[in-house]
Symmetry: C2
Subunit: 392 residues, 2 copies
Amino acid sequence: MKIEAVDFFYLSMPEVYDIGDGSQDACLVRVRAGGLTGWGECEAAPLPSIAAFVCPMSHSACKPVRASVLGRSIDDVADIRRIGDLVRDQSLDLLQADHTLSGIDTALWDLLGKRLGEPVYRLLGYETAYPKMPYASMLFGDTPSETYDKGRRTRAKGFRAAKFGWGPIGLNGVEADIEQFKAAREGLGEDGTLLIDIGTVWRDDVDAASKRVKALREVRATWLEEPFVSGALEAYKQLSLRAAPVKLAGGEGCHNFHMARHMIDYAAIGYVQIDAGRIGGLSVAKRVADYAHARGVTYVNHTFTSHLQLSASLQPFAGLEDDVIAEYPVEPKSLAIELTANHIELDEDGFIHVPDAPGLGMTVNVARLKDYLVEVEIRVKGQVIYQTPDLD
Amino acid sequence: MKIEAVDFFYLSMPEVYDIGDGSQDACLVRVRAGGLTGWGECEAAPLPSIAAFVCPMSHSACKPVRASVLGRSIDDVADIRRIGDLVRDQSLDLLQADHTLSGIDTALWDLLGKRLGEPVYRLLGYETAYPKMPYASMLFGDTPSETYDKGRRTRAKGFRAAKFGWGPIGLNGVEADIEQFKAAREGLGEDGTLLIDIGTVWRDDVDAASKRVKALREVRATWLEEPFVSGALEAYKQLSLRAAPVKLAGGEGCHNFHMARHMIDYAAIGYVQIDAGRIGGLSVAKRVADYAHARGVTYVNHTFTSHLQLSASLQPFAGLEDDVIAEYPVEPKSLAIELTANHIELDEDGFIHVPDAPGLGMTVNVARLKDYLVEVEIRVKGQVIYQTPDLD
């Protein structure tokens, strides 16, 4: 099959608020080949990602992403990897390219799975997809009592695990943070898996982070996520020594295999969290899963958008039986919910299952998305080089 | 002063060829505050970089770069650093943001230097700017005999050093590469400083690189540049052990301080090459220069465009007397030459000098640039969110 069309769609809620909620817009990618359609998402600012797909060439190592994709053959798994390598070579100096590639790569796996009648995880080399224990991913409440209530409600919905993210953490001093950690544990209950996410608020300040470590141990947090920016490897390593048995988690900012490897090799993290919508797609995410597995680091998906992206995020570690924790967004905006007609729901034991269907196993709800479509037009030298394609 | 306007200009040669020449287009940034104008360049694909400046917000950590720049105060050095930190926080998930910020940060230093009547290197903390020995940066010829001629011509122009870059290297086997290395040495003469640039062609294949090491020693190459992609730290480290006394050089792909630090901490490079137009501007480049200096690694600019960018690239290490090698593009396209009215020329001893004038000390040749201006218009939801500004 030849790749006949790669179309980008910028979708958005009518209003986007200045809050830490990545489900307010979406960058959806549709790939067509051989009469089939594959879908993927870039977890990325839609407009720069579209620009990286269509921009004029700057030089031989700074080409638009489409130069490496359109018209290429897509018949087997090796073709997808070849396209990814070509993008990384030909768009080496185009920083946004990794985010743009992510949605394309994912859509190619979806398309190939449909063509071969196999779920993506099997094409990635796994025999079996094991159940995952989803954690409810949400923000801390503004007050400890709100956080407590969030924990209670999460258990009531059937979740065994919850992650509380940044919000007020780091803004009001050590004692205030500790109260929040305690409220999260109390709300979730003694037997729940408690995960704490700091959202890089301490940048690379090991001392600021260390002051919260004792409290994190006392509330038996399973992990402390993103105390620092992804690149602060030495800070991670130092904190990991002080935080044990609480493990560090990080990696969502990685936009290529090497960055994830650095976190595993040098940052002493216990959990590597990969956003398949940023790192270059499922091909790269699977490579990280293999590398992490070989080194005793647990792989976790990073997912904050739709169930199309949730399915995509689960495939790269579907076959790793012991890597059981999975991120599951619980407070997404209607766009993220309505993006697919079907959803990945919790079973009665609180587990989720990768769809056992060809490709990603998700049906994009095309008719419903028209309401969210953001019309974009880009003109260069008077020529239209991008215009929102028909969504049909 | 308040930052009143930040304007991006996409400039390009009439034709852009599929060759490794980064001077074929330019992304020029003009900042206005307090009646003054500062100029900077992003070494980046212009269209995605513009999109990252103007795009709608996706969420609180994925804002357009302009949200952190327009209307901010710019009165001293701390203000510039504060703006950079704000961009990195508020555009954390917008990958292209570092490239976009680079031109803005540089323009802010130029503007502040003009305001305070000081060259940028003094604002960066250096008392003195030492002369640098420019190397002629160019591609290998298609044949050894072409490479030889290039070396001869370079010496005739007064250069003491030359770097030969990728071109045919890695494409025709070990023996062919060795012939090229020898031709470069012969052309340059026994006393010239010979630098070899591989342009990441071996990705992370240490064995492929190792096969050329003996020849590199024999031709007394000072450095072997970018045998691998920037992230392949372990491959760099392994090769550095085999290559001594030839040192490894790399880092041009780094788009933040942490990535450069990783190359210094983990890759065992001898020279860290920073593109101030990619890493987040002069603020971040200077931080890398300080870090490298403290660890015995030599700082070198990476510059492949105009003399505005050349001046910007030299400022962060202007005061490091021993870090004497500097990249100097010798075959730029007319756009890169005409971008400034004045130029940084070799003195009779083959050295160059950072302009001893306020700001970057370069005069942008506004009238001449109109011929290179690429008209761009971006519409979102029917509204024009970017249109090429007036260049006057």
